[in-house]
Amino acid sequence: MSTETSAQGQPIASTHPAAVSVAGVSKVFAARKGADVTALEAVDLTIAPGEFVSLIGPSGCGKSTLLRLIADLDSPTSGSIEVFGKTARQARIDQAYGIAFQQAGLLPWRTVRANIELPLELHKVGKADRAARSSELLALVGLLDFADKYPDQLSGGMQQRVAIARSLAESPGLLLMDEPFGALDEMTRERMQTELVRICAETGAAVVFVTHSIPEAVFLSNRVVVMSPRPGRIRDVIAVDLGRAEGRDEGLREADSFFEAVVAVRESLHGEPAGASAVRGVDQR
């Protein structure tokens, strides 16, 4: 495993800095003729180590923008972002996070194994260590038999699993996921969600998960951040208490507590008062 990278998989005790700390962040995209677009306005959000937080909201609410800012793929116009106590830029350079997008973004000329090893290769991890780590990850996502296949020989769900394995390659303490299951069919999607819950429990990584789907957000998360568009703001933070990640299985999707949380998120999304059953987040804006 990589030795230079500092962030490790184990959840960091609560005395340590938050996994993600977003303070007063705004993002304005300059458009032509001065018609600037405010993608995010005065966003505050703190995510604890090991916590699973979903960002949900209609298109244009800035949820993907917020994730890209945390990943330092874009810079905020104002405000500050820290990842494990470091600036977002330093965190990116130190490989403090793993990232997965809606498109798997695998390199078609590399085998599944070589795709997973790509980040390790870029960071000069030795060949033997790379092979050991990729075998571990292939087993984790259930694709050991496909190690030597090429991406075009895999289904969409399998490709996405490879992308998730790749994002975990350096045992990051934080996973950033931008609608990773957005392009999958419902059946595959639910299976992937169950797998992601298991993987997160095993790795102990904190997750920021962007999604359009209310049930997906509720099923996966400890907290659901509901965002509203134009300008992108956090409208509500809804704590979902569905028990420990290990206990989440298909049965949960039919449990009352699941439906109650779904209702709470939906009402918040539609701008109505959240139901009494849902516990409001404390660090609401």
């Binding site: 890209r68 870029l122 020989q153």
Partner: protein, 259 residues
Amino acid sequence: MKQSASMPRTILAPILLGVLAVALWQLAVVVLEIKPFVLPSPVSIATEFSSSVSSVWTASLVTGANALIGLLIGAIVGIIAAIIATVLPLTDELSAPLVAAASVIPIVALAPVFYTMFGADKETARQLVAALAVFIPVYLNTLRGLRQARPVHRDLMRAYGASAWQSTRAVTLPGAVPFLFIGLRIASSLAVISALIGEYFGGPIGGLGKSITSAAASSNYSLAYAYVLGAILLGLVFYVVTLGLEKLVSPHRASVSTP
């Protein structure tokens, strides 16, 4: 991955059509009593081809060698130029009008000029004509491929904190390979055509182009067509070898458009 079912059809149908066309041709020549200087019959061409196969072969080697040298030089220069233009956009801007001009003028038209420059007894002029013809498609397609990096890959490489050189090697260069081969496929046929046509404007004898003109000039029309047949086969060889090389290098990229 869906051609296997219709395999016999996709191969048999064109062969059948070809055979039918040749038979019709033969029939037309015999029935209509077409003079050989207008159109020799396929049978007479085939007879002439098999009786003079060794001279067609030697002529093909001469023209083929010129085409191959031109193809290699043109491709290498084209690839290097495309890389330079990607790294230094200024060179691209400076050379854009030149490339546009070069892609418009018929390059074989430069052959007479090159014969006077390099001597009419040398093959250099022909090789240069082929190289120039090859350069354009290879350069343009490679350049396009190098600029084709997908946003998700760019984001990934940034997320990995990869250096410029690392992302060039991991993403940009391999991503440009399919585009390079599109250029090479066009260029492979162009190389043969250019090398052959270049012979019409002068230079030493021995190649396919010169053989066609001299056979036609001495009224040996079947022989002229036999050389034309040789030229077709040579062009096919160049194309098929390039295609095979492409399949060998990038077996998992059926087409450029697939992600």
